[in-house]
Amino acid sequence: MKKSHWYNYLWIWSVVYFAMGFFHILFAWLGLISFFLPLIFAVGVGSKGFCNRYCDRGQLLRALGGQKGFSRRKDVPDWMKSKAFRYGFLAFFMAMFANMLCMTYQVYTGAAELRETVTLFWSIPVPWSFAYAGGAEPWAAQFAFGFYSMMLTSAILGILTMLAYKPRSWCVYCPMGTMTQMICRMKAGAKKESNP
């Protein structure tokens, strides 16, 4: 066993993040950190440094699946690592993200009312009003509910594939991972050649 690095403990941030969303939904905004950091790494330095080391999600799946041994450690099916699925899932995720921004905007303009629910798998509404007592701008709360829904849904998906396949199998189709790799490949002008 290799010795641990400080960043191996970043999974704690995942736990804290989801726990805070239980007490106050506005904390969900902090999830933007895990949104911008990987992009800064990719666009700024053309590196997957976030995925490679500092992603709390990656570290969580590694800790649960690898160190705790909850993973079956089976190979992911071929379709899951295909470009079609990875880019398709990224496109789907972006569409759902746009939809979420749209809802936020509608609440901002007053065209729609704030919905105090967390939506799992883009379809299952879970009442979540216990974590919001009002006070903020309705659109800011709507964004928080939407963002938390996205984070929680993807975490559940990640944990399910962690159990079924390799610990970090979520990283095969993680939209952030796919997008940052795409950016890095474009920056590197990576030729489509195989290993020499």
């Binding site: 997957k48 490679n52 990283c171 290993n195």
Partner: protein, 67 residues
């Protein structure tokens, strides 16, 4: 190189997702993720232990006999 191992790790760079899981477990520090695009094995350092292949979530590393 003195004693080179018989086997070494080979990455399918087309399917690599550049997650870095392999790099994390390599006991020789032989793997780097090249420009965030795919992982590259330093052949001179690799001892063919296969830990990276076991860890790779996309299962795109094979341990093969050296040519």
């Amino acid at each position: 190189m003195a004693n080179q191992s018989k086997r070494h790790a080979v990455v399918d760079t087309m399917l690599c997702v550049a997650c870095g899981a392999c790099m994390e477990v390599c006991p020789r520090g032989a793997i780097t993720v090249w420009k965030g695009s795919y992982s590259v094995v330093d052949d001179a350092l690799c001892i063919g232990c296969g830990l990276c292949a076991k860890e790779c979530p996309a299962s795109v590393i094979r341990v093969e006999d050296r040519p």
